[in-house]
C-alpha cells in the first residue's frame, strides 16, 4: 500500500505554458534535474529507477522522462539491465580503475588547455568555489561538497573551450557520482586534504606543469580515498 490505487492522476495538464523566455523543454529540465541528482549524490548505486515513478515525482508525463533516461543511459549515468529495468549502476573495481585512468589522462590536459583563458575574474570565481568546498567540508554537507567540488573543477575545465573532451569528462563524472556519495556517507569528507590550493597557486603564476600536477594529485587523492573506503566488494 504505497500509493492509493485510484488517485486522480494529478491533473496538471499544462504545467509550463510560461514559455516566454527561452523555450526550455520539459525534457531538458527533467534531464538536468536527474543529472544533478546523480552528479551530487541524490541517488545511491543500485537504486531502481522507473519511468512512471520519476514522472510522478517530477509531476510530468512519462514521455519526457523516457527521453531523459535514454539520454542518461547513453552517457552511462544510468544502466538498463536485460530485464529492461533501469537502475543507477553499481561500481566495480574494474570500472573504477578505468575511471581513474580517464580522469588522470583527460582532466590535467583540460586544465592545461584552460590556463591561458583564465584571467583574474575567472580565478576569483574558481577560488570562490574552493571556499565553498571548504565550507561544505566544515559543516559535513556532503551534497554541498560534491556540488562545489564539481563547480570548482569544471569552472577550470570549461575555459579550455574543448567541448569534445569535456563531454568525455562529464560522462565520467556522472559515472562515479553516486559511488562518491556512498563513500562520503561512510567516512565523511573531513580527512580529505584540500589539493585545490595548489591548483589555484599554479594558475596564479601561470605554471602549466604545476597545474597539471595539482589536478592529477587532486584526482589521485580523491579517487583513492573513495576507492579504498568502499571497494572491498562491488557496489
Amino acid at each position: 500500500m504505497k500509493t492509493p490505487p485510484s488517485r486522480p492522476k494529478a491533473i496538471i495538464r499544462k504545467p509550463l505554458p510560461v514559455k516566454s523566455d527561452i523555450a526550455v523543454t520539459t525534457h531538458e529540465s527533467v534531464y538536468r534535474g536527474l543529472r544533478n541528482r546523480i552528479l551530487f549524490g541524490g541517488f545511491l548505486p543500485g537504486s531502481a529507477v522507473t519511468l512512471r515513478g520519476l514522472a510522478e515525482d517530477m509531476g510530468v508525463s512519462p514521455m519526457p522522462i523516457r527521453e531523459a533516461v535514454r539520454r542518461l543511459i547513453a552517457e552511462r549515468a544510468l544502466k538498463m539491465q536485460d530485464n529492461r529495468r533501469v537502475l543507477v549502476p553499481l561500481m566495480t573495481q574494474a570500472t573504477f580503475e578505468q575511471i581513474v585512468f580517464a580522469r588522470k589522462t583527460l582532466e590535467p590536459e583540460l586544465a592545461a588547455r584552460a590556463m591561458d583563458h583564465i584571467g583574474p575574474a575567472e580565478l576569483r570565481q574558481i577560488a570562490a568555489h574552493d571556499r565553498s568546498v571548504d565550507r561544505a567540508m566544515a559543516t559535513s554537507d556532503i551534497h554541498g561538497y560534491m556540488e562545489s567540488n564539481y563547480r570548482f573543477h569544471f569552472a577550470i575545465y570549461e575555459r579550455a573551450g574543448a567541448e569534445t573532451l569535456m563531454a568525455l569528462v562529464e560522462s565520467i563524472w556522472l559515472q562515479f557520482g553516486p559511488f562518491m556519495r556512498m563513500a562520503y556517507n561512510r567516512w565523511g569528507t573531513s580527512d580529505l586534504e584540500d589539493q585545490h590550493q595548489a591548483a589555484i597557486a599554479a594558475l596564479q603564476r601561470n605554471d602549466r606543469k604545476a597545474l597539471r600536477a595539482a589536478i592529477a594529485a587532486d584526482v589521485s587523492q580523491g579517487m583513492s580515498f573513495i576507492g579504498e573506503s568502499v571497494l572491498r566488494r562491488a557496489y
Copy 2:
C-alpha cells in the same frame, strides 16, 4: 509534391511479431542501423535528419526513432541545433584536434591492455580484418574500408575488457565517421599506407611498447590524412 498527401500510411501494424529469439526491440535495431550508417560513412556532415523521415525510411513509427536519435545525440553522433533540427554534425578544426588527442591517448592504452588477452584465434581474426581492409582499399570500396578498419581496431580494443574506456572511444569514432567518409570521397583510400601490419607484428611477439606505438602511428597517419585533405575550412 514529394509525397502524395493522403497515402494510407503503410499499414504495417505488427512489423516483427517474430520475436521468438532474443526479443530485440525496434529501438535497438533502429539505433544500430543509424549507428552503422554514421560509423561507416552513410551520412555526410551537415545532413539533415528528421524523425518522420527516418521513420518512413526504416518502416517504423517515429517513436523508436526518437529514442535512437536522442541516444545518438547524447553520444555526439548527431547534433540538435537550437532550432530543434537534428543534423549530422559538421567538423571543425578545434573538434578534430580534440578527437585526435583523445584517440592517441585512449586507443594505444586499450591496445596495451588487450594484448594479454589476445591469443592465436583472436590474432587470426584481427589479421583477417586487416586483409579486408586491404581488399577494400584495392577496390576503392570506401564503405568496406571504413567497416573493416573499424572492425580491425575494435577487435583489438574489445579484448581489453575495459567497457568504460571503450564507450569513450566509440563515441569518438561516431564523431569522425561522417567526416572521414567525406575525406575518402575526395581522395580515395589508396595513398593510405597500411600501418596495421606493425600492430599485428607487435601482437605476435607480445611487444606492448611496439603495439602502443603502432596504434599511435596508425591514428596519427589516418587522422592527418583526412584532416589535411578537408580541413581548410569547416565541414
